[in-house]
């Protein structure tokens, strides 16, 4: 049906061709017989001229893709130049010129794209935007006809997008090959689906994500089994749900740093990433009685309130026993808050001093409540030493111990 339509218009065009070039007085002069200078891509386009007496000139013909020479055929005493398909299929301006010594005849005509759409190229970017009013994404639509010509300027293009319950249709005008529409971000996070429509033909679906905006201030809390400084149990810190200024929960994986300042002023740190807006992080209980001040940050964007944790002492006192030429020091049994043996791994430190200068520092960990240090002869020569033992913030010093 379509083919037939094209055929009919083509015949009409051919019949209605009239001259647009000037008619010369010379009998050898050639005049154009076509009148129309507007064609549709894909039509058979033939330029007709009066038949001169002498030579039959070639027609030079050029468009933005290239140039060619066309030799004439003679039909009904007219010169007929039929444009090859690779020229007549492309929309745009075409310039022609007869290559003849006698006459200088040239002209131009336009080929318009077909008034239908074969494909719609769509480009959307960026693929994600930040919630709020500032950020936006741009949809660029390039509709083309069956011969891959961009549609004519001023063709109407509808860019549609859906977000939650609303569907918005924006009509934009095709200009210089493309049509584009800016889609502003939303306050709620979610997904925008975008498509476009040109002359009744629809594109496929495209996706743009609206991601939450920056986090705002939040609160923190903690969980623990007991508040004793046993160096073994774990305290968990957590945040309230981190939200942006529009009430969206921040994206999973948002990095939160918990700064913990202890009694001595040292800055301890633990880190967490959010899941459903909540970040959790863990720390081991200290082994000394402590007071921790905790505040969490999302660097440059948000911070929490400050909370304070107090750890009570788990070990009240401890025993030290020297044996084997005073070279073996046994600390313990170390007992916790219910007089139970402290869980394995409590750190015990032994300092060996000679005249107030540190000779060596031994780190030990408790096992079944006991810690044993062996002072090897290589390191600690036979002499008199002062020995200091530190356990869970407690300290005992033994002066003038003779090692042999």
């Amino acid at each position: 049906m379509k083919a037939k339509f094209i055929h009919i218009t083509l015949i009409c065009h051919l019949l209605s061709i009239t001259a647009i070039a000037q008619i010369g007085l010379n009998p050898n002069a050639i005049t154009i017989l076509n009148t129309k200078n507007d064609f549709t891509a894909g039509d058979t386009i033939a330029l007709r001229f009066t038949l001169p007496k002498g030579t039959k000139p070639n027609l030079y013909c050029t468009n933005s893709y290239g140039s060619t020479l066309i030799s004439p055929s003679i039909k009904n005493q007219t010169l007929v130049y039929t444009l090859p398909k690779h020229i007549s299929n492309k929309s745009g301006s075409i310039y022609w010129k007869l290559i003849s010594h006698e006459t200088s005849l040239s002209g131009q005509f336009n080929i318009r794209s077909k008034p239908n759409v074969a494909s719609i190229e769509t480009y959307i970017g960026p693929p994600s935007v930040q919630a709020g009013q500032n950020d936006y994404t741009m949809a660029v639509v390039i509709p083309t006809d069956t011969l891959d010509n961009p549609l004519n300027t001023n063709t109407k293009v509808t860019v549609k997008h859906q977000f939650l319950d609303t569907v918005v249709n924006a009509t934009v005008i095709n200009n210089n090959i493309i049509a584009y529409s800016n889609i502003t971000s939303k306050q709620k996070s979610g997904r925008i689906l975008i498509s476009s429509e040109v002359l009744g033909k629809n594109s496929k679906e495209f996706t743009v994500d609206v991601l939450p905006s920056l986090p705002t201030n939040f609160t923190i809390g903690y969980n623990q089994n007991h508040s004793y400084a046993d160096g073994n149990q774990i305290t968990t810190f957590f945040t309230s749900t981190l939200k942006d200024r529009y009430g969206n929960t921040v994206i999973d994986g948002t990095y939160v740093t918990f700064f913990v300042r202890n009694k001595a002023g040292a800055v301890l740190k633990t880190f967490g990433t959010t899941i459903n807006g909540v970040a959790k992080s863990e720390m081991l209980h200290p082994s000394n009685p402590e007071s921790w001040t905790v505040k969490a940050f999302v660097n440059g964007m948000a911070e929490s309130n400050t909370i304070t944790l107090n750890y009570k002492e788990a070990i009240k006192t401890f025993n030290v026993h020297f044996s084997k030429n005073n070279r073996t020091i046994t600390v313990g049994p170390l007992k916790s808050f219910m007089k139970q043996l402290i869980p394995d791994g409590l750190q015990v430190v032994a300092f060996v001093y000679k005249h107030n200068t540190l000779v060596h520092k031994y780190n030990g960990a408790s096992k079944q409540g006991l810690v044993t240090f062996n002072l090897k002869k290589d390191l600690i020569k036979n002499d008199t030493y002062n020995i200091k033992i530190q356990v869970a913030g407690l300290e005992k010093t033994f002066n003038a111990k003779i090692l042999w």
Binding site: N232, L268, T273, E282, M283, N299
Partner: protein
Amino acid sequence: MKKKSNKYLITALLIGLAFHGASIFFTLETTYDALIHLFFADHYSHNWFEPWNYKWYTGFSVMSYPPLVHQVIAGLSLIGGLKFGLFATALLGVILFITGVYRFSLLLSGNKVTAGYASILAVFSSSFVETLHVFGQLPSIIGISVLMHALPEVYLWLKTGKYRYLFTGLSLISVTVTSHHVTPIFGMVFFIFPLIGMVIMDVSKETVGTIKAVTFKLFVVSFFKLFKRIVSFGALSLIIIIGCILPYWINSKNNPITQVPIPHGSRDNFLEITSSGLVFFLIPWGCLLIILPYILYRYYSKRYLFFGLSISLLFVLGTGGTTPIPKIILGETAFNILTLDRFTLWASIMSLPIFGEFAYRFVEADLKQLIQHKFGAIYHGIIGAIIVGLFLFITVFTMSLGYFRPSQPQKIKMRPIVNFLNQDQHDQWRYLTLGFGDQMAWLSAQTNALTVDGNYHSARRLPELTTRPVERLENSKFKGVEGIGSLQQFLTVPEKYNLKYIFSNDKFYDPILYFCGWQRLQQLENGINVWERLNIPPISTVLPKDNVAKWQKILWGTLPFLTIIIAFILNIQLMWLRTLKTKLRTVPEYLKFRNNYASFSSVVLKTTHIWALLLAILFVYGLYKVYLKNNDHISPKNTVLAYYNALDFKAFKKAHSLINPKKKSSIAQYMLEISVSDGLLSSYAKLNAIKTTINFKNDSLATAKVVTNWITPLESIDKTDYKTLVKQNNKWYINIDDLNSYLPPDQLYSSNVTTYFNQGRRRITTEQTHHEDVLKQPVLEILSAKLVKFKTHYAIVGEVQNIDNVPADVVLKGTLYNNNNKALATYNAKYHLKHKLMPKETSSFKINFEGIAWSKTKDSIPKTFNPDEFTPVEFEEQPTKFNLQAAGNVSNSDLYKSFAINELNVSSNTISGSLFNSGTEEITIPQLLVSYYNLDKTLLWVDHLFLKDGIRQQRKKSFDYTILENEKITVINDDMSNCYVNGLPNKDIALKVIPNRIINHTQHQLQKINHPEYEFIKIEINAYIGNPK
């Protein structure tokens, strides 16, 4: 008289083909060189006339190696593939070698029986077996074999002056030249010169009748008689040596070897490094050592005098660095370029004719009679059995050397790697292999992808490679610190060479890959780990090459085969005649000088006996020394050494056997304890040096101070341990320390994390990624950046934050400029950056500007290089400005962030504390990034510390960090206007995402320290997970 074909030679050929033909399939592919020749052959099979190869070293010319053998393999590969070509060529080499030895022996002795014996012995010659089955030096074998074929022709030309012999001789020499360039050059000196001497002797002898009557004067007269022939032959040979591989010489002249020499075992002192002595001296000489007095005796007889001199020289040169003589003779340069093992190879080949003669005399002639007469038949039989047994034992041992001490990693199935490179356009980037050994050449032959590495070190071109004594990046860990130093430059700035993929067959390299910003991609089905680096542009479609003139290409492509064809036409008739004797023809001149074996000198027999006894004593003494060295319990020192070696080689069962039996736990408990200790020191360290001092020792107890140095991929670690040793049942044992006894409170843990998956292309298609599937680059913000000067070197320090909603892989590239905006240096952030950042995470960074290490001071490579140290760029002008380019790419790996700084104690010069691993992955290598601030809380410097031990799940680990010395740091420029993120100006893009940033938000959370230069520090943690679950 109809002549018979030589049954000994036929036997030798049959045995040779069966023996080598059967074993070659199990040995050749694991040799050092065979696969390199295969790679070259692959090149010729695709580009016969194009000498430029892009696959290695960002391009090199195959004109850097004589082409014949490679072209022969390439030609044969058209029939049955590359490996068929390789094996066929190797078998050709075997045939050429056996016949070559036969002809050489026949030339010397004039006796077909002894020559036949020599050819049989040649089959099992340990030096030949080693060269073929262990080293895989095909061109060298073919070169020397053809040279031996040329010798009789040369002799006949000099003796008779018939031109046909000149042509046949020269034709064979041209084949030698095109297969191996070094062989004819040294062959001239060591084989042809003595041969000329022998011809002159023979001519002199003919004049006076007996060899005894030949005087020096007569010798000179004869020399001048033959002078024309000698000179003409010498001149023509020279023309052939130069002419046949002219492009090679032109190439050598244009690209002189200006690289740092690569250490080679053949240059070692064999007495110090006994393994080199074994491989490069004992094995190639083998049984020949026993009859060395006889060989010298024979070669120093008047006729062979010049061979005597030659073999003596070869013997000495072959001893490498054992004596200073080779260095004096060859000169420093030649000594460092040549591999001296070839001298031993030639010496042993030169000995074969005499060995054949000895065998003949021992088996069926005068020596047999002498021994039987003196010592009896039984003694003769026993001696014979011992020599044959020893000879065969050495041969078998040599052939299976690769089995006892594998020179190569296990055979790697290349198909999955080749497929990986072919799919998804992965071959549009360069790749690198790690831990492949010489098999990397086989991979290169099979894929079109290019690598920055290569396996022919003379052709190395990149300054990063030529300034190091590193033959391949691939095995850089065996080259200690220089190797790792070379490798890390490629890993830090991979975009310079479009290096995107790394195939790792050795987990040793994993930490350096991680901390340089690489990420694990996948494990292929052959167990090879693929690592990739994001943000690397593909290789440009047009690559530079050094073009050569067309005539050179044509000459190179045609001449080698032409030499074969000409040699074939000229010689084949002779070959047939000489070996198979199908037609009666004149007897060659040299057969007139047939040796007669009538009476074996009893003095020589005596000398040989004494010599053999000496050797035997030496051998037994050597064995005793080895026993003393290898007995682990004989002294405390041995026990300590054995224990540390066992730990180094992960021989835990052996380590356990060295522990004090009274104190030790069961092997099961010990293995369990080992299995839970991971980390830089226990999993990635190689023992480099160990020094044991025994402080105290009595009958049953000893204490030792053990100072060890370990090479890890990241840094070199020095460690001092104090160990106690006890003696029980006359054996020394070591006491070990207890493990940390910490018990986590819970048995089972749960944890929630966000994981990410990057689809890549959603549609299964080979097309380039559709634009809808291209992920947005995460937006980063450079919070601060400044150019600082520390001592003599410059660095860019600052902080970067991922302000996007997806995890980002961060690449930071800094460029320094002078006042005139001239770019001075470019480098990337290496260890001083958390390369993976979660959304909103911040990392401090520092970019050091590394020069190509030691490029200026080639000879002052520090003995104690630390992989962590670097050579700062030498600036000719003062850098005053900087440009910083940050690139973010979505990453879904290495995002483990579950850790905490659980304790911290700050003293004036150290910070100690402990890290707590609160998650469900074991941290293999924790890293601390320590940032230093001044009183105004301005960032001045970033330092790092790798913790030696890993941290298991739910456990803590203590650390000690030494605060930097009082070094003044000058801020040169803190103008951030040239900072860019993903190509966009930093300020603009940051303002768009975070319009209301709280500036210096966490600065009041910095840690105060007592230091004259710095007021505050900040500690960040980065963690490498070795085995992600």
